[in-house]
Point group: C2
């Protein structure tokens, strides 16, 4: 994959607990940060329940559309862990007890003098031919099938797996960004900022209002581009816009 | 809508900043909690960029499939706020400056001695015929079109709007849940827990491993059902399962 090509990705987070509010997802934000640093554009995220049909449908939609798909959740040893089966079904592959995973897990439980139970053996199941994704936190492997990376839902394990995976991916051309704090409200900058965006079509300029109980609303402007000169030119125009507004009126707080 | 019918919902979170990792979404988890309390099942979440085509496609997929769709983000006054246009397009409606919203915003800015700029007037745009969603934090309205509720991305405003909206929705039959702390690892309970689940098909039993740097992994079991007697029967069997395991072996920490 050449560095000039834009590399895209999607995430599929799996788990009833994310949709009931019992667990607040922490993996989407982490994946987003890691991919941004790697120059890979996260384009879409879906969160679905522990429901085979929902997983298969979402996975097939995402894997055909983006270069990479990263999943989280549902690869443990209990009955509600159905991700391995669902991914196998999506690829039309049999879901089997992987020989290497059985060995690794068997050795680990023997060392710890624990039973390698039928439930624990479930963690060795993956689509036939899948590649392991190891992790330093627990021995249970994630796995890769084609462009899909299947990882754990527990954030510490997800992060450990992602650390391994990200090193194996060809990096894209990283998006550069510059944050510019803005003392004017969005309503004051909206029109001139739109003009700056139009004048710099190769950049993406975002305006992010934040709300603080003490300070009320304030605004952070973020210019993004893949080329540094392009980024600098647009950022200079945003700063000039703020300077012009400052000269023409007092700073408004809202 | 009768109380015996299951009421479903989806969320569509909109914003480049969620996908770059710059902003960590806080609205999905909040919506999930509020809907669970209201007896509405959140079935799917999608996060997409500030991209009209992506918003239209996701919205049309979700609104035809679930009773309600809640969106967050992209309704401010800057050029990257394209949600009103995208929702209008998805419904085939013109996106117009709503008369009532223009009045409300115009009065508010007059009171504050601020210019009702062209950018601020953008916040009054919505699909023709949409109903307002007010909020106590900022005056800018969200809006409702058919089964779609369009709300702000700033969490405080999203929450204020949701508070108004949720009261207008017919509540579903609330899912009851009981959390049971489990001193055994998932690998020890996987097989018997699967049997409990099979014996109680009207419940959904989840097993949630957590990782703590001090304590390692521990497991929370959650039984969910819409009927209290059904819930109690399954929870009793989960507790009996734990008692049986305790009698047969020492507590395992992992």
């Amino acid at each position: 994959m050449s560095h000039s090509e834009i590399v895209t990705a999607a995430m599929l987070a799996i788990g009833d607990e994310l949709l009931s509010g019992r667990t607040k997802d922490k993996n989407v934000g982490h994946l987003a940060e890691v991919l941004t640093l790697a120059g890979i554009d996260l384009k879409e995220v879906r969160i679905v329940a522990d429901d085979e049909e929902a997983i298969v449908e979402a996975l097939n939609a995402l894997r055909s559309r983006y270069h990479y798909v990263f999943t989280s959740g549902g690869i443990g040893p209990t009955h509600d862990d159905i991700t391995a089966d669902a991914i196998s079904k999506a690829f039309g592959l049999p879901c089997v007890h992987d020989e290497k995973a059985m060995e690794l897990l068997g050795e680990m439980y023997a060392r710890r003098n624990m039973e390698f139970s039928e439930a624990r053996q479930r963690m060795a199941r993956m689509p036939k031919g899948a590649a392991h994704i190891p992790n330093a936190v627990s021995t249970a492997p994630g796995f890769q099938v084609e462009n899909v990376y299947v990882m754990a839902g527990v954030p510490q394990v997800f992060q450990a797996m992602l650390e391994v995976v990200i090193k194996t991916l060809p990096a894209g051309k990283r998006i550069l960004s510059r944050a510019i704090s803005c003392p004017f409200g969005e309503g004051d900058i909206g029109t001139p900022l739109g003009e700056v965006q139009k004048a710099h079509p190769e950049t993406s300029i975002g305006s992010y209002p934040r709300y603080d109980e003490m300070k009320g609303f304030h605004v952070e402007l973020v210019v993004r581009a893949r080329d540094e000169a392009v980024l600098n030119a647009a950022a200079a125009d945003v700063e000039a816009m703020i300077a012009t507004l400052k000269a023409s009126r007092p700073v408004l707080e809202a």
